[in-house]
């Protein structure tokens, strides 16, 4: 019997090639897009899966709240936390700290800036994490203070094909001997490093404070719990832990400090603390993409259901004959299910092929190595195939049910099926189209909302002038010996007329201000945490910042001697944090912090130091001495940029031979903060367009069918004098009605979704009228054009032909 089913199925697919093609094409694109997204999500959720003890590994972030201030959360904590936790809690088996350091690593003539990828780490990390050794092992490394472990890639970078073991890397005046080589850190690891140095050495260099400090908070801390430990019970003990070690200080400084226990698996997708290690994913984006994936598959299956049901009209005669020949209802259902399975299997197979072939461009688009997106796990495929087949069965059930329910007598005599089941007034089919449009409108609204936010972030006035600004980064060893060279370089730059201004600072806009300290008003014990930005006296003018009260820094003494009063500027947010209503009121106030007695001499208007995702931080601007400036910003004004760049590079390499020439254009760097958002916008638009294409395919098929069924009616109307417009609108208005119903369903849903997501941004667009109209207009125009072609064709056809063939 199945041979017969297959035969009929195959011949039917072939006979109705257009419909089969639309169906298969739509479904296979849906399947491919779904796979693409799910695979991407799978990768994002696979972060840190490689660690065998991942379920027992937790990070210890912390929260600081100064009285009256906002909560600030940090991905890292104090170095004393790790040893104290091991000592205090039997649940903790191991703990490890990572302290990121920067600077130049040299080997022979090679000088490489290991920005963000050089860490001092506890040896216990090799027991906690499962980074695999290519050379050496966890027992043979970090036995000596100056031991180093590097990755294979780093080994190649420094030593080529030579054996790295025993070779010395020079960093910060010390030689570190390579004792072990790790396999490259997998792309799905939230901790990324090139070089690990023995933490014990760091303790020595810091004279112990990297082991005992409860105030210095730059240490990413991980704990491994014992297999039988209860993480929640441990969490409950952390407030008492904080109280035990910091209670007195918290009381004195009037602040709260609490520690968290964050599961390793939560870090990549869920963690939004300050000072995260770079490259965290965004759960909001991932969720939205997940929704898009489901919508796409849903739209594709609705197409299938709609087209098959509509098409069932054509097959009612066959059903009638089969019934007359003795077919029972369930035999027919089986037959039509077989048929739909055949179509679905073809579509799934093509979908998987499309997925495989587009994997490479897609992995380029999302900037992930294709190796990690290439799924070899058979369980994934098994799950997907079962999912697709189940979905196909579900989608096939309705058309099969409709078809098998035709009364044979109606089928044979009228070839129109049973009244009400597949007729033009089919509410079910229309509801499905409405749902499809709803999904499409939500996707478009989301994509538009996102685009608007991105546009807003990129074009909003930052309050700081970052145009034409070249930033040079100083990464050499910074002691007082650098000062003459520094002065000489600044003078050379200022002497060049193509350089409008030169200023030096510890941070530049486009990233978090590096350090922060507690400050308190004189005679008050209330600490307020502010970011510290060291600047020279040209910074405010060079960056076009505005002084709203008091005066700018001029020849004020830099922060060297703690016995001398340090004149500082604060921004408007800091004014509020210190409890002053007016900027002018804080001018002249004395503030203590960072070991200095400071006096506020002026207030800087708030500007966006970082991406608009973040709110304004309180910032203290203080005059810094030359040797501590990591950044020199040059405002360029030239028609011959290459010439000027050559000039700057020559001067740099001559004056700072030990410091590699590193530069970036500030507007590009600022823009780079939106890299993730831009990527998401691109991906979102891509899948929105795919969803639209699939929905349009369905609409096209459905209108093609409806029109072919109504050709006689159209011809009669035409003979009776209906105009082209009347006939076209006859068909199109039906679909437009559905779009309008869908809009009413979709817009509130999209509004909630987009609003929720915009909440994540400190500065965001408000959802305006465009949000309600644009998606609806887009969908209307697209669906109109989809249906219009068929309608026009029908309206322009010779009516006599249709009437004669009826």
């Amino acid at each position: 019997m199945f041979t017969n089913y297959f035969k009929t199925a195959w011949r039917n697919l072939w006979k109705n090639r257009t419909f089969s093609l639309i169906n298969i094409f739509g479904l296979s694109i849906g399947v491919a897009a779904f796979l693409m997204i799910i695979n991407y999500l799978r990768f994002e959720y696979s972060y840190d899966d490689a660690h065998l003890k991942k379920d027992r590994i937790f990070r210890v972030p912390m929260m600081l709240k100064e009285n009256g201030g906002k909560e600030q959360t940090f991905a890292f904590t104090y170095p004393a936390v790790a040893p104290s936790m091991i000592r205090d809690f039997p649940e903790v088996e191991e703990a490890a700290r990572f302290r990121r350091v920067g600077g130049i690593v040299t080997y022979g003539d090679q000088k490489i800036v290991e920005a963000g990828s050089l860490f001092y780490a506890d040896a216990s990390m090799f027991n906690i994490f499962s980074f695999r050794f290519a050379k050496g092992n966890s027992a043979s490394v970090f036995k000596e203070l100056n031991d180093a472990v590097i990755t294979e890639e780093t080994a190649k970078k420094y030593f080529g094909i030579a054996d790295p073991i025993g070779k010395a890397l020079h960093y910060n005046g010390e030689d570190y001997i390579v004792k072990g080589v790790l396999e490259n850190v997998p792309a799905n690891s939230h901790i990324r490093f090139n070089i690990l140095l023995n933490y014990e050495k760091y303790i020595q260099l810091t004279e112990g404070s990297a082991n005992t400090s409860w105030g210095w908070s730059d240490f990413y801390t991980y704990v491994l719990l014992r297999p039988d430990a209860d993480a929640n019970a441990l969490k409950a003990k952390l407030p008492a832990f904080a109280e035990r070690y910091m209670g007195d200080d918290m009381k004195k400084g009037n602040y709260e400090n609490s520690f968290f226990l964050q599961p390793l698996k939560d870090i990549h997708t869920r963690s939004r603390y300050d000072y995260e290690m770079a490259g965290n994913g965004d759960l909001g984006y991932l969720r939205y993409l997940g929704i898009a994936a489901l919508f796409i598959l849903f739209i594709a299956w609705i197409n299938y259901v709609n087209l098959s049901t509509a098409h069932s009209l054509d097959r009612s005669k066959e059903v009638g004959i089969r019934k007359v020949a003795g077919a029972g209802k369930f035999q027919l259902i089986r037959q039509f299910l077989t048929e739909s399975l055949l179509l679905n299997i073809i579509a799934i197979a093509i979908g998987i092929l499309i997925f495989r072939f587009t994997l490479s461009p897609f992995s380029n688009l999302v900037e992930k190595d294709i190796i990690y997106l290439n799924i070899t796990d058979w369980r994934f495929w098994l799950f997907m195939i079962i999912l697709f087949l189940l979905g196909s069965l579900l989608a096939a059930f309705y058309p099969a049910f409709v078809l098998s329910s035709f009364q044979p007598i109606y089928s044979i005599k009228n070839a129109k099926g049973s009244p009400g089941l597949a007729g033009g007034k089919n509410v079910f089919r229309k509801s499905l189209v409405v749902l499809q449009f709803t999904a499409a409108i939500v996707l478009i609204a989301g994509a538009i909302g996102f685009y608007e936010q991105l546009h807003y972030m990129q074009t909003r006035d930052l309050g700081v002038n970052i145009d034409q600004t070249l930033v040079l980064q100083q990464s050499g060893r910074q002691d007082s010996s650098i000062v003459p060279a520094f002065t000489s370089f600044i003078n050379e730059m200022e002497a060049n007329p193509a350089i409008q201004s030169v200023t030096a600072s510890t941070s530049v806009p486009g990233s978090e201000v590096g350090g922060s300290s507690n400050y308190s008003l004189r005679n008050s014990s209330v600490d307020r945490r502010c970011r510290n930005l060291g600047i020279d006296n040209k910074f405010i003018d060079a960056y076009g910042l505005t002084i709203v009260a008091g005066r700018n820094i001029t020849n004020d003494k830099p922060a060297v001697d703690t016995n001398v009063v340090l004149n500082i500027l604060v921004n408007e947010t800091a004014v509020k944090v210190f409890g002053f209503a007016e900027p002018a009121s804080i001018v002249g106030q004395e503030i203590d912090g960072s070991g200095f007695h400071c006096k506020v001499i002026g207030v800087v208007k708030d500007y966006h130091q970082e991406s608009l995702q973040y709110s304004f931080d309180p910032i203290v601007f203080y005059p810094e001495e030359e040797r501590n400036f990591g950044n020199i910003s040059l405002k360029l004004n030239t028609n011959d940029l290459p010439l000027l760049m050559d000039f700057i590079k020559n001067k740099w390499t001559t004056i700072f031979p030990a410091s590699p020439y590193r530069f970036f254009f500030l507007n590009e760097r600022f823009d780079a903060q939106y890299k993730n958002d831009k990527l998401f916008a691109t991906v979102l638009w891509l899948f929105t367009i795919i969803a639209l294409v699939i929905a349009c395919l369905g609409l096209f098929g459905l209108s093609l069918f409806t029109i072919s069924k109504r050709s006689k009616e159209i011809s009669i109307r035409k003979v009776l004098g209906a105009s082209l417009v009347q006939i076209t609108s006859l068909i199109t208005k039906d679909y437009l009605k559905l779009v309008i119903i869908a809009s009413f369903l979709a817009l509130p849903l999209a509004f909630i979704l987009v609003n929720n997501w915009l909440e994540d941004y400190a500065f965001h667009v408000s959802i305006g009228i465009w949000f309600f109209f644009l998606p609806v207009i887009i969908i209307m125009v697209i669906s109109l054009f989809t249906v219009l072609y068929q309608s026009l064709k029908a309206a322009l056809a010779n009516p006599v032909k249709n009437l004669r063939t009826e």
């Binding site: 017969n4 009929t8 009638g320 004959i321 020949a325 003795g326 029972g328």
Partner: protein, 225 residues
Amino acid sequence: MINITNLEKYYRTEEVETVALNKLSITVKEGEFVAIMGPSGCGKSTLLNILGLLDDPDNGSYLFNGTEVAKYNERKRADLRKRNIGFVFQSFNLIDELTVFENVELPLIYTGIKGPERKKRVEDVLDKMQIMHRRNHFPQQLSGGQQQRVAVARAVVNNPKLILADEPTGNLDSSNGNEVMQLLTDLNEQGTTIIMVTHSEHDAKYSHRIIRMLDGQTVTENILV
């Protein structure tokens, strides 16, 4: 074989009720060849549909081989139908996607006959209908007469006791029509009961008895044999 009494069938739309069969009573004995004639709309096709269990009556009794079937549900009707009744239609009603062989095979599939047996029986009947050489052709590749021969083959392949033919020659020229009528006569001679709706006096002459209908009732019965 067939005994219907006071059979009624109405067609209702929102405003109008049309009487298709009005307290109709007829009897058909086993082995009879009966022709039903009458003007369009007199209810003859409705009667044939009810006799074939393709439609159900609103009132009245329908005894098929002594069993009351008027109130049978769809499953029971389908079961009775596939075991006992073959249909021949004016428009042949072959499935375009299936070949001649596969079309004829269909009723055997649904009755659950196994493959080799099916093959034999289909070939036998195709032979009998002299259409064996076209077994692998699709319906649209055949002439009208050939298509109707396939339809008849399909109707008889399950050896039904009753064949219901709804204007079997309506779409055929006279020579093809005669051929089909001869086929039906042969089947009848071999013991199959045949009830045929027709407009053609010429075709009606092949039957034993002509029932003439008007407005859902029988008006006359002519016994020819």
